[in-house]
């Protein structure tokens, strides 16, 4: 556990290590009793309703060389592409938006995936999704009997960030008492045994109540100097302290891991470590369903250089305008989620920082047609951003552009990262 930002609060058992490639190191406790080890095949939900936080999962998987990653929007989920995955990740965003996009068909696909042995990892909105609810759209996803604790009929007095402090939930509210850092104490339940306290960031995630204490992995236990209180501190304590922050529960042959705080956030390596541990724990050793054959194309030499230069040109143009837009104080409410201009660059930087790696490698491979999709999306992003900047300069509304922009950013980033991970896997195979 080198270079841990939170050494003062981390109490990971000495000697506990995870080999990211194989799932267990020489002194690892992971995974339990599994013979043959392999890297998990992970699906990341990138469809409507997601915010930018799925990119934090991407960073984590990339850092830990968990390269067998695919990106699935709502159509892919409904279309059966969960079949053959080990893990399906649903990140933060707008829970209602995710549920609405996936629909009843998507809910059944996820349920089948879990019941047949898949691992569902839900963070923030992704954790709310499978909890018990009677609300429209969400009621298709009643996979667990875990309840939301930060639910109230009467909204407490909100001190700041009103737009982020609550979401209407039927006749009541899901309210968020704090943002930023919270302290979490592990319960000792597997797979987080041997760990004491950590800190992780909370951005609208749940406090949870589980029927069975054995399912609780971590509880909220305190705040730090970086905790931002949205309600009175006493109210925040009452809402969060002792409530479950991370839970695992069985469902059929599979399992769900639900995280209120963002264990995947790149600034919290101790939480990251636990998340990887959850993903690799109990990894099924049955043979994977063969991947569906796709027509793959390879770009090498001048063709690769030209393709990457074209992407780089557009992303550079987009970053430059996006930075200019960040000087404006504004927010867009898309679905139930608030977006600030700073979120634009989170997508762009996720691409930008990986271009150098692709430039250095011998070739890149992708599903046929991905290059065209990337070019179209990137061009659309730059055009939209420039129009947005023009409108902002003129003091005009930009909501319609923002909706389309974030959709294009999500699609572009998803396709680019698919190409990136496919190329990394190809390179690894070549080296082997």
């Amino acid at each position: 556990m080198a270079a841990c930002r939170h050494q003062d609060t981390l109490a990971l058992e000495p000697g506990l290590e995870i080999d990211p490639q194989n799932g267990r190191g020489p002194r690892s406790l992971l995974p339990r009793g599994v013979g043959s080890l392999r890297s998990p095949r992970i699906g990341v939900y990138t469809g409507p309703g997601t915010s930018h936080s799925w990119l934090w999962f991407v960073d984590l998987f990339d850092r830990r060389s968990l390269n067998d990653v695919v990106f699935l929007d709502d159509e892919y989920v409904r279309g059966g592409l969960l079949h053959g995955l080990d893990v399906f990740v649903v990140s933060g965003g707008d829970t209602f938006g995710v549920a609405r996009a996936l629909g009843r068909e998507g809910a059944r696909a996820i349920e089948t995936f879990i019941r047949t042995g898949g691992v569902y990892v839900g963070s923030c909105a992704g954790a709310y999704l499978p909890m018990r609810s009677s609300k429209e759209y969400l009621n298709w996803f009643n996979f667990t009997d875990i309840k939301i604790a930060n639910l109230s009929k009467n909204l407490p007095d909100i001190k700041r960030l009103k737009s982020k402090a609550c979401t209407i939930y039927g006749c009541g509210y899901v309210f968020h008492a704090v943002r930023e850092e919270v302290r979490l104490r592990m319960t000792g339940n597997a797979p987080f045994e041997g760990v004491g306290e950590i800190v992780a960031p909370l951005y609208g995630g749940a406090a949870m109540v589980a029927e069975r204490p054995s399912e609780v992995l971590a509880r909220y236990c305190g705040f730090t100097g970086k905790t931002l209180f949205l309600v009175d501190e006493g109210e925040a304590e009452k809402t969060l302290m002792g409530r479950a922050a991370a839970i695992t529960t069985k469902m059929g042959d599979g399992r769900l891991f639900l995280f209120g705080p963002h264990f995947e956030h790149p600034g919290f390596p101790a939480a990251n470590e636990l998340l990887v541990k959850a993903i690799l724990w109990d990894l099924r050793d049955k043979p994977l369903v063969p991947k569906a054959a796709v027509e793959e194309v390879h770009f090498v030499g001048e063709a690769k250089k030209s393709l990457l230069r074209d992407i780089k040109r557009e992303i550079s143009n987009a970053r430059i305008v996006a930075l200019g837009i960040e000087t404006f104080s504004l927010q867009w409410k898309i679905g139930d989620k608030i977006y600030e201009p700073e979120k634009i660059r989170v997508f762009l930087e996720a691409v930008w920082k990986r271009l150098g790696g692709l430039e250095r490698c011998g070739g890149i491979c992708m599903e046929k047609g991905s290059d065209t999709i990337m070019a179209d999306c990137a061009g659309r992003i730059v055009r939209t951003l420039r129009e947005m900047k023009g409108r902002l300069d003129a003091g005009e509304d930009t909501f319609d552009l923002a909706t389309g922009l974030f959709d294009a950013l999500r699609r572009f980033t998803m396709v680019f990262l698919e190409v990136y991970f496919r190329s990394v896997r190809f390179l690894n195979q070549e080296q082997e």
Partner: protein, 440 residues
């Protein structure tokens, strides 16, 4: 080249519209250090292809106080010799962060184009719609079309487009710095200009040592001769124009500094708005940024009021023409107001007086400003001092006005910073050789 550098030389062939890049080698840096040492070397390498070279100095864009400078090197249409002119404000820093240390521009485009350099990419884009527009309008178009107000521009106006020997390359809205007619070179190449924006980072070999040395230098500068000095008025006074500050005072809005300059050397005056009111201007062009001290002095000495001088300088900025030459010609032609000058700008032609300065643009003060650099002796000795100081500035990327006011920018210190920052071992002997080469 790994440190304090983007490590890349961009080569743009305007005839084909193609851009390629080459590695900046450690060997070249070890031999020529940077800035004008390398632009001169690149000029010689491409001499047969009518090049104009834009380059950063070794420290441009770094923490070294005054590290604002980039350089143009080309054969002057006015003198017929290879000359260098400074690129100030934030353009040098932006070039380095855009991923290139040097840009070789060769050939002639068949149609008007703009070179858009951003984050390791160089695009030669159509500038047909911009051709014919003045520098300010064209700069506005670029910033609007590209969607970023922070883009730095190096553009020509009507003077460059029409092939005037007096044409300058205007930097943003602040006018040009060359007395060599470099704007004509752009015009001849059908190059409206260069737009720069980058979000790169610089690596430093010994980052802590480098920062420590920079902070020590800054501490000394703050206690030195330029402490408390600010704006073009103070520089004019130092050059002997004793009433300059009083002359400027009624229209001064603010003083302005180039990238990482400990002392502001430019002053914004408002001719069309109350300069004492500090609010977001409702007028698109309420005044002008005065950065050319000799240009301003020329109009003052010609008997212009500050308001008229400001308007004349604004017209020069927009047209992209040397204001010193314009002031001289205006006097010869008996023009006494900005309006008559503005109307005549497009057709103004030399000859004008030649400067005693060689190689480096006599835009920077030709004598010590504020500071005492010891006994310089006669005129020749002063010019020798000036040439060596300018060479030092143009090699290391230090603002050429700053080196005339700050003895803290010493050769010894520049070499020390160079070696800490790059991990190379550049000697005084090498520096002497480079200076001798670029001053010859």
């Amino acid at each position: 080249m790994e440190y304090i550098s983007s490590g890349k030389i961009l080569v743009v062939d305007l005839a084909t519209g193609n851009a390629s890049d080459e590695e900046l080698s450690d060997d070249l840096v070890s031999q020529k250090i940077g800035g004008v040492g390398i632009t001169s070397s690149l000029y010689q390498s491409y001499a047969d292809e009518d090049p104009i070279i834009l380059g950063t100095g070794a420290f441009t864009g770094s923490l070294v106080p005054g590290s604002a400078l980039a350089i143009f090197t080309a054969k002057s249409p006015r003198t017929g010799t290879v000359c260098h002119s400074p690129v100030t404000f934030k353009a040098g820093m932006e070039l380095k962060f855009a991923g290139f240390d040097y840009v070789v521009i060769k050939g002639k485009s068949p149609k008007p184009v703009l070179l858009w350099v951003h984050d390791g990419i160089a695009d030669v884009v159509d500038a047909g719609a911009m051709w014919g527009k003045d520098i300010w309008e064209a700069g506005d178009d670029i910033r609007k079309n590209m969607g970023d107000d922070l883009i730095q521009t190096l553009l020509i106006g009507k003077a460059g487009e029409s092939g005037s020997d007096l044409a300058q390359i205007g930097i943003n809205y602040g006018g040009g710095t060359d007395r060599w007619g470099f704007g004509k070179i752009f015009g001849d190449k059908n190059l409206k200009g260069i737009a720069l924006r980058g979000m790169g980072l610089l690596e430093i070999s010994d980052a802590e040592g480098f920062v420590d040395e920079c902070l020590e230098m800054l501490g000394e500068v703050k206690k030195g001769a330029c402490a408390g000095k600010s704006g073009i008025g103070d520089i004019m006074v130092a050059l002997g124009e004793k009433d300059a500050k009083e002359w400027l005072a009624p229209l001064v809005h603010r003083n302005s500094a180039c990238y990482n300059m400990p002392c502001a050397t430019s002053t914004f005056i408002c001719m069309d708005e109350d300069p004492k009111v500090v609010v977001e201007s409702e007028k698109p062009e309420p005044g002008v940024l005065l950065s050319d001290v000799y240009g301003l002095l020329a109009f003052k000495k010609a008997g212009f009021s500050l308001e008229q001088a400001g308007r004349a300088l604004k017209a020069c900025c927009k047209c992209g023409i040397d204001p010193v030459a314009v002031a001289e010609l205006a006097v010869k032609e008996g023009k006494k107001d900005a309006q008559s000058i503005e109307q005549a700008l497009a057709s103004m032609k030399g000859p004008v007086s030649a400067s005693q300065a060689k190689a480096f643009s006599p835009w920077a003060p030709l004598q010590p400003v504020f500071a005492d650099f010891g006994a310089l002796g006669d005129e020749k000795a002063t010019m020798d001092w000036w040439m060596r100081r300018q060479a030092l500035a143009y090699i290391f990327g230090i603002h050429p006005v700053f080196v005339t006011m700050s003895p803290e920018v010493s050769e010894e210190r520049m070499l020390k910073l160079m070696n800490i920052g790059t991990g190379l071992e550049v000697s005084q002997e090498t520096l002497d050789g480079v200076i001798a080469g670029v001053c010859s």
